[in-house]
Amino acid sequence: MSQPRAAVFLTTLIAIAGLGTAARVEPTRGFERVDTPADAELEAPHEAIVKFETATTFSTAMHTIQDAGGLAARRSRSGAHFLVSLDPTVRVGEALERLGRLPGVAWAEPNGVVRKFGSAAELFRPNDSFFRFQWHWRLLNAERTWAIQTGDPSIVVAVLDTGIAFENFGPFRRAPDWGDTVFVPGLNVLDGSTHANDDDGHGTHVASTIAEGTNNLEGGAGLAFHCALMPVKVLDNRGLGSFFDVAEGIYYAFRDAPRKARVINLSLGGPGSRTLTEAIDDAVRAGVVVVAASGNENSTVSFPASHPGVIAVGAVDQRKQRAEYSNFGSSLDVVAFGGDVDRDDDRDGDPDGILQQTFSGRDAQRGIFNSFGYFYLNGTSQASPQVAALAALLIRQGVTTPAGVQFAIQATAEDLGTRGRDDQYGHGLIQPAEALSGMGLNR
């Protein structure tokens, strides 16, 4: 987790061949190093999350909080939680103890850090149909899936991430391959605006897996391309965010948004949090499917994927073997293709990552957000939105509860590894067409 990850990208060299009537693309490899924050940079903010047992006025709460050494507070969308900035001279543990003892306070916990699951990236810009480079869709039988269901804008998938390149606003530009994909009003939790633009590239790639413009003669495809996307920015331009902000994003997505999400994708994780746990539980109780990446540390499944009620998604490579980075364990539910950019098992000369549109992370760090292209990324961040997209398609097909969606995905998964459910692959590799076909009496 602490090691900087090398990111590889392909630039393209366009060569005009023949008599000047045909254009040919010759990919040329280049390298750029994109560092994800090391653990040393992930120092938790000097903040606490306080939950009051009953609804209380802001002024009453502030009075109580200040008595315990809190400097300032921000109220959550749920109303019961307060994010408290602590006096830097007071240790967090000491402040939590004081806050927890206050009358009317249910509990207090430190505000922690969540982060996107980093990926090694490679940019590739062929001028041909990019769908043929999306081997993950081929192996998931996407064309058959689309014969059954392509989604509908009435089904909203919220992407809680670094934002999405969905609009032209300030320095931000709309990514080129959204086709007729519908975006519903989102939220930038970090600044409170509706401009949840991506300043990192991670969120755009994740969102493109779900609903990149498809069948529009441009770029690649997304699995649920007729579903609507809701951009919710909860991670900053380093891919970092806090429990409080992710929880805020969840409440916005399923409760406060003018058009509410039916599916929430979380390609992020960190240590456990009661605040985030409550938000997820509330979302699931409200009928929302919550999907999360298992994490990329070759370790046990991260939070919030490990939380019951969340569909925890691990990653396999093109051989359908667990990717070496993919987290595993008893709370792993299913796997999807996360790829591995260090492999080329189909010997096509390209890395076996997941190809979707986004923009250069290196350029983004320099404040340039329009270096759009088609990047091979790998990670459970790439696998999770495949499952989120399938969940959206299942809802459109008529499976209306989170438990039903999870059951459909698990019951129709291709069993990998040891027979039956196991900790490496969960219930197996998702099979979207099988899930959408449902069950007959004996088949």
Binding site: R144, A147, I148, L394, Q397, G398, V399, T400, T401, A403, G404, F407, A408, A411, A435, L436, S437, G438, M439, G440, L441, N442, R443
Partner: protein, 206 residues
């Protein structure tokens, strides 16, 4: 042709040959109701109810004054939708589904009240159940077809002494391992395609 149907076919030939010689022979038509007693949750999930109508035909051959053998077949057709079934929650997906069940059987029965117009009987039978399932999903046909041995017990009565005789019959059949290999029957752990049937019969005795 599989073994169960060879047995039934051979029995049919024997019964037809006997019919020409024996008293009490006849041709029986039946109509009634078949309940998927042994796979109720699967039936409920796919078809919205456990049972449905059945029709059938049989050849009946008397063996002396108190016994008869009967060879026949019934037909049950059910339509519904493919579903996602998660315990009590069932989500129809809109893909049409049709299931056909064709039990073929050879019964041996003993009748009572020899001189009465009302003649009750009890019996048992062996045979085969032909099961066929077909559904249409976005232009693709998904089908499954299999035949399994079945057994049954029956209780009934006929009324009348002329050429035409009315009757009623209850039967309970078992057909283990006919289902349960996939689909909702696997989810619910139901592997038996048998069940209770109730039918009215009309017998023509030349």
């Amino acid at each position: 042709m599989n073994a169960p149907f060879r047995i039934v076919l051979a029995a049919a030939v024997l019964a037809a040959a006997s019919m020409a010689q024996a008293d009490g022979s006849g041709l029986e038509l039946r109509g009634g109701y078949f309940d998927m007693t042994n796979a109720p949750r699967s039936a409920q999930a796919l078809f919205g109810q456990r049972g449905g109508p059945l029709v059938g035909i049989a050849l009946r051959v008397g063996l002396g004054e108190n016994n008869f053998v009967r060879i026949g077949a019934s037909f049950v057709r059910r339509t519904g939708e493919r579903v996602i079934a998660d315990g009590e929650d069932v989500f129809p997906l809109g893909h049409p589904l049709e299931v056909q069940i064709l039990p073929a059987y050879l019964d041996l029965a003993r009748q009572f009240l020899r001189d009465s117009a009302l003649r009750p009987y009890v019996g048992f039978g062996v045979g085969a159940v032909l099961f066929r399932e077909e559904s249409e999903v976005a232009g693709d046909t998904l089908s499954d077809e299999r035949a399994k041995l079945s057994t049954r017990v029956l209780l009934g009565a006929t009324w009348g002494q002329g050429t035409w005789r009315l009757g009623a019959e209850l039967a309970y059949s078992r057909a283990p391992d006919a289902i349960g290999l996939g689909g909702v029957s696997k989810v619910y752990g139901e592997n038996d395609l048998g069940g209770l049937s109730a039918a009215a019969t009309l017998t023509w005795r030349p």
